[in-house]
Subunit: 395 residues, 2 copies
């Protein structure tokens, strides 16, 4: 069968806040081939990814993403890989491509799972999917008191691991950051796992990062995530050598396999974090998970949006028994929750399990999404090259 | 003074061919602050870069590029760097940003040169600009005979160095590539400098690359460019160790400083090639040139478009006396030529010199560009967020 349609839907909260909350909009992708439909999601900047799907060609290595998808044969998992390579070759000089192709790749895996009647993790070669321990992913409060209250709340809600990130952290004085860390630890109590996400605010400045090491150690932080931008390998390596037991985590900024490989090889990471909605989809996630596993480095998903994205991001390491942690969005805007009919809920032990239904096992809630749909129209030379399509009646 | 306007103009040939010719379209950027105007150019996919300038915000680290530019103070060269960092921070999760910001950064340097009455290379700290030896940058012919004729033609036109790339090269048999290389060498005669650009067609496959090493050696190829995708550091390093005198060149795919640094540190390059229209503009080019120089690796521009882009791409290494080569487009479509009122022509010795006029010293030909201007309109929720502006009367 052939890919007959690629549709994309820009979804957004009515008001976007200037905070680190990545659940405020989404680009939902629908791929149809024969009688099957698959769904995927791209991370961030929906309008730009739409433009990359439909733009006029610049030259042979800068084609719109859609040009390498429509009419392609899609009969087995090898086709997904072949099509991904084709997109990367034909759109090499179109930078946005990797983010856009991520949603398409995820949708192709979902579709293939439905065709072959198997969950995606099985198509990836795993015999079983191990439960993961979700860590609640939260933004730091504006004050230590707010952070304390957030920590108390998620702890009371049964989370054993919590990640705080963004907000004011890393931008003010060392003392202010120390107060935030102690507040988080106090709220979590001594046996909770505390993770910290610095959101790259220190650029590649090891000095600013190292001033906080003592506080990270005193508050028993398990990992420090993205102290630096993706690619600042020397800075990561230097900080890791100074950090004692503190592990560094990073990788969400990687938008292809080689970038992730370099972080694993040269950044002295304890844990590589991959966003299926950015790196090129599940296909690339799996390559990175295999490589990290071979190098003895933990793999964890990066997810701050919907449960469609969550399912997609876990598939690649579902069968890695010892990579037990999983990022789990708990502060999503209503869009992130309303996006899907079903959700990946915690069990009595506080663990989560991937759906065993075919594909990703998560169904978009198309009726609920109606109110989030953003009308977009793009005209070139007075011809409409994109107009937001109507949401289909069934997923 | 403050940045008061950022305008962008999508320019295109009427028909875009499915070839590796990157001169078929362009995104021209105009920055205005106080009484000054500067011009820059982004590489490829103009519609996508326009979308990245004007799109709605997704969250605090995924803002439209324009949001970090308008109303910013722009009084000295330090401001250019500060604004670039602000853009990268505020649009970190918008992948297209680096390509878009490239044109903006170039325009800011052009503007600052006009304000401070100095060519850009002086603002970058160079006392003088050394002449460069242009190599004619050509696509391989469809047949060895065509390649031979192209080589004879540019040789007769006085070029001492020629680069052939793309076209059928690397995609067929080893014997076919050997025929192409021998045709190029024959046309150039024995004393011409022969460079080959593989355009990443071998992905990261060292085996396919190494099968051509003998022919590269027999035909006296000086460098083999982009045998692999940017970032396939291990493949580069392995091939370099097998290549004897053959140098590897690469780096045009890098879209930030750290990617270029990694290629210099880990890919065993002989020469790093940077496109000012992709890597983030002249500011980032200069950081890479400094780093390459300190590591004893040659720096060369990557340019396949207009002479505005050419001037921009040479500034960063204008003062490096021993980095003498320069990529020089000779097969541009009419757009690439018509883009500017003046051009960087070869002197009697076949060398080129950067203009000594303020800024980039190259003036867009706004009247000539009228016919290439592409009408674009982008609407979100029925509001026009971008419409192609009229070209101003004067540059």
């Amino acid at each position: 069968m052939k890919i007959e349609a690629i549709d994309c839907y820009y979804l957004s909260m009515p008001n976007i806040l200037d905070t680190g909350d990545g659940s405020q909009d989404a680009l939902l992708i629908r791929v149809q081939a024969g009688e099957y439909v698959g769904w995927g999601e791209c991370e961030a900047a929906p309008l730009v990814s739409i433009a990359s799907l439909v733009c006029p060609m610049s030259h042979s290595a800068c084609k719109p993403v859609r040009a390498s998808l429509l009419d392609q044969e899609l009969n087995d998992t090898a086709d997904i890989n072949r099509i991904g390579n084709l997109v990367r070759e034909n759109s090499m000089d179109l930078l946005q491509t990797d983010h856009t192709q991520s949603g398409v790749d995820i949708a192709m895996w979902d579709l293939m799972g439905k065709k072959l009647d198997a969950p995606v993790y099985q198509l990836l070669g795993y015999k079983k999917s191990y439960p993961k321990t979700p860590y609640a992913s939260l933004l730091f409060g504006d004050t230590p008191q707010e952070t304390l209250e957030k920590a108390l709340r998620v702890r009371a809600d049964g989370y054993k691991a919590v990640k705080f990130g963004w907000g004011p952290f890393g931008r003010g004085t060392v003392a202010e950051d120390e107060d935030q860390l102690h507040a988080a630890r106090e709220g979590l109590s001594q046996d909770g796992l505390l993770l910290v996400d610095v959101g790259t605010v220190w650029g590649d400045d090891v000095e600013r990062a190292s001033q906080r090491l003592k506080a990270f150690q005193e508050t028993g932080v398990t990992w420090v995530e993205e102290p630096f931008v993706s690619g600042a390998l020397d800075s990561y390596r230097t900080l890791a050598s100074m950090g004692g037991d503190i592990k560094l985590a990073g990788g969400e900024g990687c938008h292809n396999y080689h970038m992730a490989q370099q972080m694993i090889d040269h950044a002295a990471l304890g844990c590589v974090q991959i966003d299926a909605g950015r790196i090129g989809g599940i296909s690339i996630c799996k390559r990175v998970a295999d490589y990290a596993h071979a190098r003895g480095i933990s793999y964890v998903n990066h997810t701050f949006t919907s449960h469609l994205a969550l399912s997609a991001s876990i598939q690649a390491y579902a069968g890695l028994e010892h990579d037990t942690l999983c990022e789990y969005p708990v502060e999503s805007q209503s869009l992130g929750v309303d996006m899907t009919q079903n959700h990946i809920e915690r069990d009595a032990n506080g663990q989560i399990h991937l759906p065993e239904a075919p594909g990703l096992g998560i169904r978009p809630d198309l009726l609920a999404l109606e109110k989030y749909l953003v009308d977009v129209e793009i005209k070139v030379h007075n011809q409409v090259i994109y107009r937001t399509p109507t949401l289909p009646a069934t997923a």
